[in-house]
């Protein structure tokens, strides 16, 4: 029983643990997160000081650069737990942090000059929200505790809801924000109820302790099983797994395109950064269900994309299919009975896949943002005709991204897929791997159609030939993305070396 006497003892215990918890290592481990959090708060301050508008870009770049540099330093350091085991850094979480911060930086650069008219006045709020989202992602992958993970999830989600509705004079943007918010809140409620049930069954929120407890008797209690499943369902919403994927095309299409780049890459990476190591929450008997859900996700994404004429919507469906591919790793882990070796191999595959996907997807959506800014509100397949002649550099970059999304050799996307299917084959899940590969081939249908439209179909008679120049920063980012895709495809060893 809880009595007043036990509660009275709590403060002294708390005081003791505060001294144990805040060590020097904690500050170093939290540096990337703190850089972004301080940057976001500073942005609010800068925003209210008259004449300090010039400082806004400085704050954004400085905090993201600090986060990137400190995360880079963590890549070579050994893994450690800080703050009483509620937060941890490892080479894997450091690489995830790099993915988030680079993704946010790219999204911010694509956003420069994207917004028109009255919205420009709100760039302080915009920048603040854009710095908060990656901070939440960092907490998610570093969390050693479900409470910290939940806080990270919300720090990521709330800014993105607001950002997707940022063009609030446009009906599609507000509708996207509203849909994203409603389904996100619904998913968060599932996650919370699942967490609460897992806590009721086990009495702990620590992910490490849960992992060992789920090896034993606890895992067979119905409360823990239902809790684990509900918790996972909440995150499946976030990564758009079948049957929780229907919101994705609407939200990606309606949101401002620079924000879509971050949603497509960062959110997905952060959620898988948690899901893949936390597969232990599911019972081994769920292997078949998880594999089926992953394959159905791939099918839903690829078949949905085939019939789209709006390119942004097509890429949104393609994002669903990619989520399905990464999810196959969870089936692989379950099939191995949760062996540590397969888990770390899967985390490495996730990292490679997501790093390649960062460059590919950011570049592809970013190119759409550049084209949209030149006067076109909606990029249709028709609108891409003749792009190869008008803007060869843009069309070449788009070709690289499409080939990488399709998993063609010599691009980063190929090795990402290769590593996923390797894990499956090692677990003797040949049928699943073959089906997955076949579904990836369907995807080539629409990726190649974009390439063919750009290079082979001429501009129709009398159609306006737009020659508006792109801004330099956005072009540079697109070039970096294309170079990154090719680098990861031609020299995958360098990145795999980073993983150790």
């Amino acid at each position: 029983m809880i009595t007043l006497a036990t509660l009275a003892q709590a403060p002294s215990a708390l005081e003791q643990s505060f001294q144990d918890v805040f060590t020097g290592g904690a500050t170093a481990a939290l540096m990337p997160f703190m850089a972004l959090a301080v940057g976001a708060l500073l942005m609010l301050l800068v925003d209210i000081i008259k004449g300090a508008e010039m400082l806004r870009p400085v704050v954004v770049v400085a905090s993201l650069a600090t986060a990137i540099v400190t995360a880079w330093c963590q890549v070579s350091e050994p893994a450690m737990q800080v703050l009483g085991g509620t937060y941890g850094v490892s080479p894997a979480s450091a690489i995830f942090t790099l993915i988030f911060c680079i993704g946010a930086l790219f999204a911010w650069i694509y956003g420069l000059g994207y917004y028109e008219g009255r919205l420009r006045q709100f760039s302080g709020e915009y920048d603040m929200l854009l710095l908060s989202a990656p901070a939440g992602m960092i907490l998610m992958v570093g969390a050693g505790d479900l409470l910290v993970f939940f806080i990270g999830l919300e720090i990521l989600s709330l800014p993105l809801y607001a950002l997707s509705a940022f063009r609030r004079n446009r009906t599609d943007s507000v509708e996207a924000g509203l849909k994203y918010f409603l389904l996100g809140a619904f998913a968060a409620a599932f996650f919370l109820f699942g967490t609460a049930l897992v806590y009721t069954a086990t009495g702990t929120l620590n992910i490490g302790e849960l992992a060992s407890m789920f090896q034993g008797e606890v895992a067979r209690s119905p409360i823990a099983l239902v809790g684990g499943a509900l918790l996972m369902a909440g995150i499946f919403f976030k990564v758009s797994v079948f049957p929780f994927h229907l919101w994705v095309p609407d939200v990606y299409q309606g949101s401002p395109t620079p924000i879509t780049t971050l949603m497509a890459t960062g959110t997905k990476a952060a959620a898988f950064g948690f899901l893949v190591p936390a597969t232990f929450l599911l019972p081994p008997a769920a292997t078949g269900i998880i594999a089926a859900m992953a394959l159905l996700t791939m099918a839903a994404g690829n078949l949905g994309a085939l019939v789209q004429t709006n390119v942004k919507r097509m890429l949104a469906y393609s994002g669903i299919a990619h989520a399905g591919t990464v999810m196959l790793l969870m089936a692989g882990i379950l099939a191995s009975g949760g062996s540590d070796e397969v888990r770390s191999e899967s985390v490495n595959a996730t990292l490679f896949y997501m790093a390649a996907y960062l460059f590919t997807s950011t570049g592809a959506f970013g190119l759409l943002a550049m084209l949209e800014r030149e006067g076109e509100q909606m990029i249709t397949l028709q609108g891409l005709r003749g792009l190869g002649r008008r803007r060869p550099a843009v069309a070449a970059a788009m070709t690289v991204f499409m080939l990488s999304l399709g998993g063609i050799p010599a691009t980063g996307g190929f090795f990402g897929k290769f590593m996923v299917f390797m894990v499956l084959v090692e677990q003797k899940m040949i049928a699943v791997a073959v089906l997955g590969a076949l579904l990836s081939v369907i995807a080539l249908g629409y990726y190649l159609r974009i390439i063919v439209t750009m290079w082979m179909q001429p501009l129709a008679e009398g159609e306006a030939d737009r020659q508006a120049p792109s801004t330099l920063p956005a072009s540079v980012v697109t070039g970096v993305c294309a170079a990154g895709v090719l680098f990861m495809g031609l020299m995958p060893g360098w990145f795999i070396g980073l993983l150790g």
Binding site: A162, T171, L182, A185, A188, A189, A196, L197, Y199
Partner: protein, 106 residues
């Protein structure tokens, strides 16, 4: 009076299901927001029930109540943002019916 933990869990499950049903079936955005709040509070009740059950057999377990406090905080943030989005939506459509959000599809 000592309510068994199972009863609290059943109550929480009923509240959660009512919230989920309300979310899926109701068309008014304000009611949908209220349904989400109901689901979050079902989770809070579960956290407190779990903490009580564990504290009665072992050392004081405060993880659950602390989580519940954070959930209350996050629920407030979500409500603020959600209502702001509903207002932005209402300004455009003159309606808070979810059916009015039908522009993006295909």
């Amino acid at each position: 009076m000592n309510v068994p933990t199972e009863h609290l869990l059943i109550l929480a499950a009923v509240l959660f299901s009512l919230g989920a049903l309300g979310f899926l079936l109701r068309r008014n955005l304000i009611v949908i927001l209220a349904s989400v709040e109901l689901m979050l509070n079902a989770a809070n009740l579960t956290f407190l029930a779990g903490a009580r059950a564990h504290s009665s057999v072992g050392p004081l377990n405060l993880d659950g109540p602390i989580f519940a406090l954070f959930v209350i905080l996050v629920a407030a943030c979500e409500a603020a943002l959600g209502l702001a989005l509903v207002i932005a939506f209402y300004r455009q459509k003159q309606s808070v019916d979810i059916e009015a959000a039908a522009e993006l599809r295909g």
